[in-house]
């Protein structure tokens, strides 16, 4: 019998880039980039040290939030944000269902498929804030522009996920319905809809949550909602009111997250 010697120490094999030379080149490249990138950051340390005192005041404002003195503005912003969130989610879902069906390769003819996919691509590529800037310029300040922005953004999100979901359905069920001589509408209603409905409801609830968070942002460019109130509070250096608004946003997002996960469990 041959006496084979095993090494007594073990080194973990590399996990991502196997070749040693490539690894070194990659590390050097990253290092060079980091040096260049760090060099492009100009920091005015004097300004930072002045600002730290302000940061302290902000943290104090966060710890002792002032809900009362600006309560009228806060509550108006909140009502705008919440109503905007709900209406835009409902409208967005209603519009994205036909677009999502049209963007599913197994249900729609090629030319409809390409039209719907390009609508989705445009909606996903543009930031909410950029859309909001344009819609505010067109429709005037206020929650209506925000509502349109969020609806448009919802289409890109929901229609894409819905279309991907429809493309992944169990073909056997669709085949069975088709074998009964069902029309296209009956096919959608009896073969596709039951398979994608639970996920569609889940996604809509998730989008409701996202839309609320976004509604806090697009107010900064004039599209109504709590973001406008927050922007004003920070501009006036009223950090205690700003802290209160942020805490309200965090609270509502937490409630929405737990509520929607509970609701999804209940529905599925």
């Amino acid at each position: 019998m041959s006496d084979k010697t095993y090494p007594t120490t073990w080194r973990r094999p590399p996990q991502i880039v196997a070749d040693r030379r490539w690894r070194i080149a990659l590390q050097l490249g990253i290092l060079a980039y980091l040096v260049l990138a760090m060099g492009s950051v100009e920091v005015d340390w004097q300004r930072v040290s002045v600002g730290l005192e302000r940061g302290q005041r902000f943290i104090m404002g966060f710890l002792q939030p002032d809900f009362t003195s600006r309560w009228n503005d806060i509550s108006r912003g909140l009502v705008e944000s919440l109503t905007m969130t709900l209406t835009s989610t409902v409208v967005g879902v209603l519009v994205s269902v036909p677009i999502g069906i049209g963007a599913a390769r197994n249900l729609a003819p090629a030319w409809i498929y390409y039209i719907c996919r390009s609508i989705i691509a445009v909606s996903r590529a543009l930031q909410e804030v950029i859309i909001a800037i344009f819609l505010v310029a067109m429709f005037g300040f206020g929650p209506f522009a925000g509502f349109l922005t969020l609806s448009f953004a919802t289409i890109g999100f929901l229609a894409k996920l819905l279309a991907d979901d429809i493309e992944e359905i169990d073909e056997a069920q669709a085949e069975a319905i088709r074998a009964t001589g069902a029309s296209w509408w009956q096919l959608v209603n009896y073969a596709v809809q039951p398979q994608v409905m639970p996920r569609l409801i889940g996604l809509s609830l998730y989008r409701l949550d996202i839309n609320f968070r976004e509604s806090a942002v697009i107010g900064i460019v004039g599209a109504g909602g709590i973001g406008a109130t927050l922007n004003t509070a920070i501009d006036r250096y009223e950090y205690d009111s700003a802290g209160a608004i942020l805490l309200i946003i965090i609270g509502i997002v937490m409630i929405a997250e737990y509520g929607s996960s509970y609701l999804r469990k209940f529905l599925q």
Binding site: R12, Q15, I16, Y33, A37, M38, S40, V41, E42, V43, D44, R47, V48, V50, G51, L52, R54, G55, F58, V79, E80, L82, T83, M84, L86, T87, V90, A125, L126, Q127, V129, I130, I133, F134, A137, M138, F139, G140, G142, P143, F144, F147, R213, E214, A216, V217, I220, V221, G227, L230, N231, I234, Y237, A242, L246, I249, I250, V253, M254, E257
Partner: protein, 270 residues
């Protein structure tokens, strides 16, 4: 002998009671929608809304020949934007890793105290958009790239932390047990049992977040946090619409490229 039971001839999907509940639910949603619509549009000036197509055509005609000579001026802000996204992602990931280990049920040192704190950090960071973080940070540390980087980093903690702690909780317990059985210390279990299992997820999440951060950093300049958004804001303020077109096209191109990079990197890893 068993008795023959007669079932209904026509098949229905739900019982009448379930149907009634379902329709009530839908009616309630419609009512809520209508009420919200009323409240929301209370102060809307409809003249502006009906005027929108004309405004859109007007803006469109002003935007149309894009001023391509403006493009060279945008290269430095674009480099800044990429740096904000990349450095912000790196900083965010570095801060997110300990938070994720504290939040994961199988690695947290104390479920009573540290886990809720870590979860709160994740929720707080996730619920505040990077634009709002930037708004705050510009007020605190002044306008510039640093505010943008910190804003992106703070926003990334929640995203990376949440996905990473879920990945940690989903690790295969048998492999960890095998390492423990060799008499490994806690840090050795971490480095030989857990880390190799979450490494692909970690890189996937980081690259995914980097892609999102590129998108978000393009607009951070709107509140003064540096990058290409500053140019957008400046052009919008002086109503230089042909420049706005160029900037938007550049942003669109950057987003498409970063999405392609992130998709191919993730495909290579996972």
């Amino acid at each position: 002998m068993t008795e023959i039971t007669h079932y209904r001839q026509t098949w229905t999907h739900r019982t009448p009671r379930a149907r009634l509940l379902l329709w009530t639910g839908w009616a309630a949603l419609v009512a809520l929608f209508l009420w919200c619509w009323q409240v929301m549009t209370e102060n809307t000036i409809w003249a502006f809304v009906w005027d929108a197509p004309r405004q859109a055509a007007d803006i469109g005609s002003r935007m149309m020949p894009p001023r391509l000579s403006y493009l060279p001026e945008l290269m430095v802000p674009l480099w800044d934007t990429l740096n904000i996204a990349t450095l912000g992602t790196i900083a965010g990931v570095i801060m997110a890793v300990p938070v994720a280990f504290l939040a994961a049920r199988n690695t947290t040192p104390s479920t009573r105290l540290l886990r809720p704190i870590a979860l709160f950090i994740i929720v707080a960071s996730r619920s505040i958009n990077s634009l709002i973080w930037a708004l705050l940070l510009v007020a605190i540390i002044g306008p510039g790239l640093l505010a943008g980087i910190v804003a992106i980093a703070l926003r990334s903690i929640g995203f990376v932390g949440k996905l990473l702690y879920e990945a940690i909780e989903e690790t295969d317990a048998r492999q960890i047990e095998a390492i423990e059985a060799t008499g490994a210390s806690a840090t050795q279990v971490l480095s030989y049992g857990i880390v190799p299992q979450i490494m692909p997820a970690f890189w996937g999440i980081s690259v995914f977040r980097w892609d999102i951060n590129i998108r978000e950093s393009t607009i951070l300049g709107l509140v003064g946090a540096g990058g290409i958004g500053l140019k957008l804001q400046a052009s919008l303020n002086v109503l230089a619409w042909p420049q706005v077109t160029v900037i938007l096209l550049l942003i669109l191109g950057t987003v498409v490229v970063s999405e392609w990079v992130s998709a191919s990197v993730r495909k290579a890893i996972i």
